[in-house]
């Protein structure tokens, strides 16, 4: 049951590169900490897809297990990150990272 045929690996690599770049762009472009965080998730997502594509082409389950770990870590990161965001919001009433300028002097 080989589902995918005729799509070269390069296509996947390019797709993942573009997704990753979009994520990075978002991190730089947006000022809302929450959205930045989402863009980071997008980047991780691109990595996951790349790993899976490689896994399929190498016939190697290792990469899929790696993806598994990335997902686990992403989940842990999200829990901590959102807790931090909530803490910041409690004190500043904003999630705009430009509003956080206490440390610039």
């Amino acid at each position: 049951m080989d589902i995918i045929k005729g799509v070269p690996l390069t296509s996947y690599i390019l797709l993942c590169s573009i997704l990753f770049a979009i994520g990075a762009l978002g991190v730089l472009y947006r000022r809302n900490a929450l959205v930045i965080f989402m863009c980071i998730e997008l980047m991780l997502n691109a990595v996951n897809l790349l790993m899976v594509a490689f896994s399929r082409y190498f016939n190697d389950s290792n990469a899929q297990v790696f993806v598994f770990f990335i997902m686990a870590v992403a989940a842990a990161e999200v829990s901590v990150g959102l807790a931090i965001l909530m803490m910041v919001y409690r004190n500043t009433k904003t999630t705009d990272i430009d509003a956080l300028s206490k440390l610039k002097y």
């Binding site: 997704l19 978002g26 998730e41 997008l42 997502n45 899976v52 399929r56 993806v67 999630t95």
Partner: protein, 166 residues
Amino acid sequence: MITQYLFYFLTFVAIFSALLVVFSKNPIYSALYLIVTFFATAGHYFLLNAQFLAAVHVIVYAGAIMVLFIYVIMMLNLNKEVEPHKSTMLKVAATVCGGVLGLVLVAGLRETELTALSEYSNPSIGLIERLGNVLFGTYMVPFEISAVLFLSAMVGAVFLSKKTIH
């Protein structure tokens, strides 16, 4: 043939909604488009014989992570589109940076030719039995160690959310 069309369709959806994640004004729309991207990715996983990962991807990302995001957006009531006007300079700079990164990646990886790729694809690599064996065999140590990660994340999240007693 149909898989190719599927591939292009999913790719289009993924990239389109990824762009919308970045450029949506409203955070909740960003989040929703991100979910769409995740689903497109899950579709790609299916195409790549990684059914287990596809399911886990949906459960973890769409089912847990993004719910938390939306939960927080809702709780913080971020629907006001309050993002302040950023100077055009910064925007341009960010776009250029991101664009350059993308260009470099695309240009660098455009003509990737992987040697020693097996033409024959083993469909069982994405199956849960196989993954389970790898995970609990080779990757036992990281699996166990990740318990520490979760524990610390849990303790951390609880600690940050706990009310300070004065």
